[in-house]
Symmetry: C2
Subunit: 328 residues, 2 copies
């Protein structure tokens, strides 16, 4: 198991938004162990997500999972819920530009499979460019996919949910801003065919722009990939994350990754900032009439708190503005 643990939280008070809260952990085995032995008490379903780089990592993951299960005398985790809860999308006016362009069908269908239980899932990271794959995974894209195949197979045998990622989907620190959208679609398809429950298409460098996002989504659709198998993962490095999110919404995407306080980053993408801040994303979604069930004031407090705990600057505009208003 890698040194990075990821806690993926799904909120479902009034509906649900899929939210990623990524943070670096000293030892993710310990985190997994703690979470399994002492599950968090929350009214919301939370998916705890663990990066599994190879089969050895998966075996470690199973080992921790099984020992924790023995410790708590609990059965292994229940079959994972469908990962997203459906946010309530307004019948109209969801979109800033063209309300008719936003179908609410996908999320409603998924709604039927909702489960309220927390779950544990694993993630595998592919890259959209050979150079980034080499830097991040030390192998070619094709080799990385072959490495993932047994991981997905074994995970599915144990009924563990798998999330695939395609990094640098809208620009690469090594190969530049023009990642081939057809290549992204090809890798996404491969991951889905191997059994990934969902693929997060990631703008790791933040080089994504509205037209590029649109082109990528068109390429994914053209490859036969349906919207509810995809999540979009934006970094706000160049300030374009919310504009790109609106493009995604209009295309029918309903799962967006983010991190409170805009935490995160990527060691292989110099100057990369963290994910778009959950506070900014949720503020934007709410402004468009989406009901996520998230209390933005509490979210803003969490962002400020965890940023301080980690000694990082709180990179959310909405969160800071909400807190400033609370103080005034």
């Amino acid at each position: 198991m890698g040194a990075t643990g990821m806690c993926r939280a799904f909120y479902k008070k009034d509906g649900l938004a899929a939210l990623l809260m990524d943070f670096q952990m000293a030892n993710s085995s310990e985190v997994l162990d703690a979470l399994l032995v002492q599950p968090t008490s929350t009214g919301h379903a939370i998916a705890f997500n663990y990066l599994v780089p190879n089969v050895k990592g998966l075996q470690n993951f199973f080992h921790v999972l099984d020992s924790a299960s023995t410790k708590t005398s609990q059965a292994p985790p229940s079959p994972p819920p469908t990962p997203i809860e459906s946010a309530e999308w307004p019948a109209s006016n969801t979109s800033a530009q063209d309300p008719n362009a936003v179908p609410s069908r996908a999320s409603s269908d998924i709604n039927a499979n909702l489960s309220k239980s927390n779950t544990t899932e694993i993630s595998v990271f592919a890259a959209a460019t050979e150079a980034f794959s080499k830097a991040n995974l030390n192998c070619s894209i094709a080799e990385s996919l072959e490495r993932f195949r047994p991981i997905l197979l074994q995970a599915k045998e144990r009924n563990i949910r798998v999330r695939g990622y395609v990094s640098v989907a809208l620009g690469c620190p090594y190969e530049g801003p023009k990642t081939d959208p057809r290549k992204v679609a090809e890798i996404t398809s491969s991951l889905l065919e191997m059994g990934a429950d969902e693929v997060s298409v990631a703008d790791t460098t933040g080089m994504g722009t509205a037209p590029k996002t649109r082109e990528l989504l068109k390429a994914l659709s053209a490859a036969g990939i349906v919207n509810h198998d995809i999540a979009l993962h934006f970094h706000d490095t160049y300030g374009q994350a919310l504009v790109n999110t609106v493009v995604g919404l209009e295309h029918g995407i309903r799962i967006f990754d983010s991190s409170v306080g805009g935490l995160g980053g990527c060691p292989y993408s110099k100057g990369a900032t963290g994910n778009v801040a959950t506070e900014d994303l949720v503020y934007c979604l709410h402004s468009l009439g989406v009901k996520t069930g998230i209390d933005t004031q509490e979210m803003a407090k969490i962002g400020a708190w965890i940023s301080e705990e980690l000694g990082k600057s709180n990179e959310t505009r909405a969160g800071k503005a909400i807190l400033a208003r609370l103080r005034s």
Copy 2:
């Protein structure tokens, strides 16, 4: 003349974007004097904008203008150019959402009136809510408009360009987020009828959202106000400035205010941050295919430099990312 000087720069290398660079000055008479006696040398037309709160302020402004003119033995400033240069909007794909929704006609028509000379203009600030008008101007909205009438009359007699502003057009720190768009349209119309060359509709608090921006623009159009008489002025307090900009672009607005490094703020709007950063705005416009003629690397350097000079944090994501890439 107020204590706030504003330098409004219009770039026109490949076309033009109207950009506001607002910064607080210790003494704007001195700034005006210096600029008139020693004009900046630049290949671009620059409009230097001075806030004139009342007739007394206008008289002071004329006084400085006339003495500077005597000092330099130059004629008073030449007739002001049409304030915006026309950026080159792409024939298609301008918009992130619907390229067909973005007519390029307005800016092309304006193009015909281009002038390359620098100019000096004045600005008057109205507010869209009674509470903000009282706090900012110490009078009702109606009284403020009556105060502006002789200012505009005298400015027009001297052939000085006038820019009107309508503050808190998308949310007020005192009256809340729901400013009446019809009231904004009414005040905008009044300013234009008095002779304002252009009115900047300002989201002073940053409470503007995509649907609210859209509703406001519809109200302005419904009141018979044409797009090329309007500028949009967003603050990125809640991170929504670029999403709102895209809404404005799609409506056909072509003038957007911003400030390098996201400088600025508003003493009467607690927690308000500065204008949206020029770096972020220009990066977004360029991503949509707009040619502004602005060198984003140089712009990023300026933002970092002036932020440091003023001891303020550099509030641009794009600018900082561009500089990080330059250093790597």
